[in-house]
């Protein structure tokens, strides 16, 4: 058996070169996680730098079907600026992601690949039903963001595979035929001409506003009918389970209902069955349950106040 020469770090300029890299090398994009691990001695060895690809996907591209294709390689600050009033839950998550310096380097692909249960960009992507676009030696394929992380620090990436883009379908309530925008000050809403309003947002509970890992996070997306009833309710919670999870129990309570006091109380109660938080250095399991419930109450009561 011949031994291959030891792989060396490289800075390829095309995606095809990245496909052909030695799968033993780690990909280095923004570096805001990997270089921390290297400094701590948790990672050694060569890297393939994907931060300077000439043919990287453009940061945000809107397809004719209303799908937004987000580059996995663009800095989060660039993504947020390009999104503007689109995908408000993701834009809100980026706004409280680490710090300006980190947002200027960190990428969506890196946040997904790091597979932290507390990753802040993941709950919005799960709530929006986004799909990860993977590529590698065997070609391209897609995996729902909700299925991409398989545990803390673990993903379904096959050897040599890497994340090229994330595709986000139109959020609930967005009329793709005529995307008239009527965003309010909170940049929460886009309404079509049908009286249906698209609502989505993100709430993070953490030790401080910047540079803090989420104790819990909640992203929500739903369509609100003219009478206030919610449809296509999606709730995605971070740091309350081994991976970011949808909350089917609470979603079922809210689906088709106007979120009055009783409905909110029932949704909050149902949330308990949707999550399995642990106690760790950031918070106790009991605190995480209460904080997530509070976040859901906030998300719902802002609508009926």
């Amino acid at each position: 058996m011949t031994k291959n020469p030891a792989p060396r770090s490289s800075s390829p300029r095309t995606m095809a070169e990245v496909d052909r890299r030695d799968p033993a090398t780690w990909l280095l994009a923004g570096g805001t996680d990997l270089l921390v691990r290297r400094r701590a001695g948790l990672h050694q060895g060569p890297v393939t730098d994907v931060s300077r690809l000439r043919d990287a996907p453009e940061p945000v591209r809107e397809t004719p079907g209303g799908i937004l294709r987000l580059s996995a390689l663009a800095p989060l600050s660039v993504l947020a600026a390009e999104l503007g009033d689109r995908l408000p839950a993701l834009v809100a998550a980026i706004a409280c992601f680490a710090s300006g310096q980190i947002r200027n380097r960190a990428t969506l692909g890196g946040n997904l690949a790091n597979a932290s249960p507390a990753a802040d960009t993941v709950p919005p992507l799960v709530a929006y039903g986004a799909v990860v676009g993977l590529r590698g030696p065997a070609g391209t394929h897609e995996v729902p963001v909700a299925e991409f992380a398989t545990g803390p620090g673990r993903t379904c990436l096959a050897p040599g595979e890497w994340i090229e883009a994330v595709e986000v379908p139109p959020p609930p309530g967005i009329d793709t035929g005529s995307p008239e925008t009527a965003a309010d000050a909170g940049a929460e809403d886009r309404s079509g001409s049908t009286g249906v309003v698209a609502r989505s947002g993100f709430r993070k509970v953490a030790g401080r506003r910047a540079l803090a890992i989420s104790v819990v996070s909640l992203a929500w997306a739903w369509a609100e009918g003219p009478g206030g009833a919610l449809r296509d309710v999606r709730l995605a919670a971070g740091a309350v389970a081994p991976v970011v999870v949808r909350c089917p129990g609470a979603e079922a309570v809210l689906e088709g209902r106007v979120p009055d006091r009783d409905v909110i109380a029932k949704a909050v109660e149902a949330l308990d069955g949707d999550i399995s938080p642990i106690s760790d250095l950031r918070a106790s399991a009991a605190y995480r349950r209460r904080a997530l419930k509070g976040a859901l109450v906030e998300a719902l009561t802002r609508r009926i106040s």
Binding site: S9, S11, R39, D49, L211
Partner: protein
């Protein structure tokens, strides 16, 4: 790569940008506080954008213009920090000045909220931040 306007050829593309700036070029303004992107003492401008130089390899900046605090023009920002006693031990200040300069380049008349957001990635263990925010506000007004 250009550093403070001068073309340079780094010997080791796999060194951290911070180590290259400090150890090879002698530009010791940027400092290693935490080494993990939390303190901002190593902040430099990469093509005008603030980044942590401890979280980049040299190879990632090979096409870029890097500006350290030494390469910033002496401006109202530095003067306001000195006059406003916004410097105590000084360890964080190079990063603070770099971040504040980037803010004022993009927003010449920032709100206090914008100032605090622009500096949220820079920690100071001495001043309590009040004097720093006032210094940036004064620099913007001057």
């Amino acid at each position: 790569m250009k550093v403070n306007g001068v073309a340079v050829t780094p010997p080791d593309p796999d060194a951290r940008l911070l180590d290259y700036l400090r150890d090879d070029l002698g530009l010791t303004g940027a400092k290693e506080g935490c080494g993990m992107g939390e303190c901002g003492s190593c902040t430099v401008l990469l093509d005008g954008t603030p980044v942590c130089s401890c979280l980049m390899l040299v190879r990632q900046a090979e096409d870029a213009e890097v500006t350290t605090v030494e390469g910033l023009p002496r401006t109202a920002v530095q003067d306001a920090f000195v006059e406003g006693q916004a410097v105590q031990c000084g360890f964080c200040i190079a990063g603070m000045v770099v971040s504040a300069s980037a803010l004022l380049a993009a927003h010449p008349d920032p709100s206090d909220e914008q100032i605090r957001t622009a500096l949220e990635g820079n920690l100071c263990r001495c001043t309590g931040y009040g004097s720093i925010v006032r210094a940036v506000r004064k620099a913007a007004a001057s």
